[in-house]
């Protein structure tokens, strides 16, 4: 699949929601744990060799599942193949919980559901649609049902 790699590289240089040096192990059988600089930017998780400016790779975090892996680690897998896991080892349980929380909230789809939730709550309390002030109340992406493909 073609993609605009330059823009993805530029994105990897943007300020991160969360960044840390973690142990990382790929999903392939026999892969070993390596130290990586892991950086969460919008709905992408970038991972760098600790001394390099360009990422080794990126994971788009849509339709993913974040699972705790003992001890003080977690894994990311994707809905279409739940057994294929990217493993991460954290320095502490607290760091692990912090990352798991951030990754679960990092998808566009999660953000969208939050917006719809807040919109409904505010509308219930005030009787007014809070998206009107932004001029986006009719946007398909913020409706409960959404557009059909």
């Amino acid at each position: 699949m073609r993609y605009n790699e330059k823009e993805l590289q530029a994105l990897s240089r943007q300020p991160a929601e969360l960044a840390a040096e973690l142990g990382m192990r790929g999903p392939k059988k026999g892969s070993v744990l390596k130290r990586r600089l892991v950086k969460l930017v919008v709905n992408f998780l970038f991972y760098f060799r600790t001394d390099e400016a360009e990422p080794v790779g990126a994971l788009l975090l849509e339709r993913c599942r974040v699972t705790q892996e003992e001890p003080s680690g977690f894994s990311i897998s994707f809905l279409e193949d739940p057994e294929r896991k990217y493993h991460f080892a954290c320095g502490s349980e607290a760091q692990c919980q912090e990352w798991m929380g951030a990754l679960r909230r990092a998808s566009y789809e999660f953000m969208r559901r939050s917006l719809i939730f807040y919109r409904n709550e505010i509308q219930k309390m005030t009787g007014k649609d809070p998206l009107e002030q932004f001029g986006i109340s009719e946007e398909a992406r913020f409706q409960l049902g959404g557009l059909k493909a």
Binding site: N4, M111, L115, Y118, I122, A149
Partner: protein, 236 residues
């Protein structure tokens, strides 16, 4: 750079509702021909397929950080997805009708995760403020002096009578009285203030770093609308 392309392909073709879909012509490169492709916008990803029945996208345009503009092109209903930076690619696309083009420009302009996050944060704060109860009414001022945006009074507290500058007409307008009294720069009264932001919003959308982004986002819309208006004026 490695990318979880298989997961990307599943995200492209999953059952969930899409944010926009339709045929667009995509220019291959600067001097290349247009190819008709089936485009699907989901979140901040713009996928393109050979046709609606394809099981895997030909490619994807990651939309974070882009601006969307109308363009002058040989093709009708053309618009561009532009990225900043040296050697950045500009994607020139063309819709099949005016309405489709406008729909795509609107949808793509608001597709970034960044934009969505700003809106969510704003609503989050609104809801939190509502749940915390009503804001106390602003304290009554002895004189109706317009405050500066940061809450400090613009004008000094000296009464007009103490002012060395002559003030021929007894002015009831606070700004002119204030201007003479404070000896501040003469000039027109300050423009009306925008709606007050809640003070308890340290991470609100208008905090230092995000204001630039908010400005840029609204600027995109303004630029797109302006181009559109100029084009419509140019037509007889």
């Amino acid at each position: 750079m490695k990318l979880n392309e298989r997961s990307l392909a599943f995200y492209a073709t999953c059952d969930a509702p899409v944010d926009n879909a339709g045929f667009l012509y995509k220019k291959g490169g600067r001097h290349a021909a247009y190819h008709r492709r089936w485009f699907v916008l989901r979140g901040n990803m713009l996928f393109y397929f050979e046709d609606p029945a394809s099981r895997e996208p030909v490619g994807v345009i990651i939309l974070e950080g882009c601006t969307v503009e109308l363009v002058e092109a040989a093709e009708e209903f053309a618009f561009a997805v532009r990225f900043a930076g040296a050697r950045a690619r500009t994607y020139v696309l063309a819709a099949e009708s005016q309405a489709a083009m406008e729909g795509w420009v609107k949808a793509l302009s608001r597709a970034s995760f960044d934009y969505l996050r700003l809106v969510v944060r704003e609503l989050e704060q609104q809801l939190a403020a509502m749940r915390a109860g009503d804001c106390p009414p602003p304290p009554r001022r002895p004189r109706t002096l317009p405050p500066k945006e940061n809450g400090c009074a613009v004008w000094s507290a000296e009464p007009p009578a103490a002012s060395p500058a002559p003030n021929p007409a007894p002015s009831s307008a606070p700004s002119s009285a204030g201007a003479s009294a404070a000896g501040s720069r003469p000039g027109p009264a300050p423009p009306p203030l925008p709606p007050r932001r809640r003070a308890s919003a340290p991470n609100g959308p208008l905090c230092a770093g995000s204001f630039a982004r908010l400005h840029e986002l609204y600027g995109q819309e303004v630029r797109a609308l302006r181009s559109q208006w100029l084009r419509s004026r140019a037509q007889p």
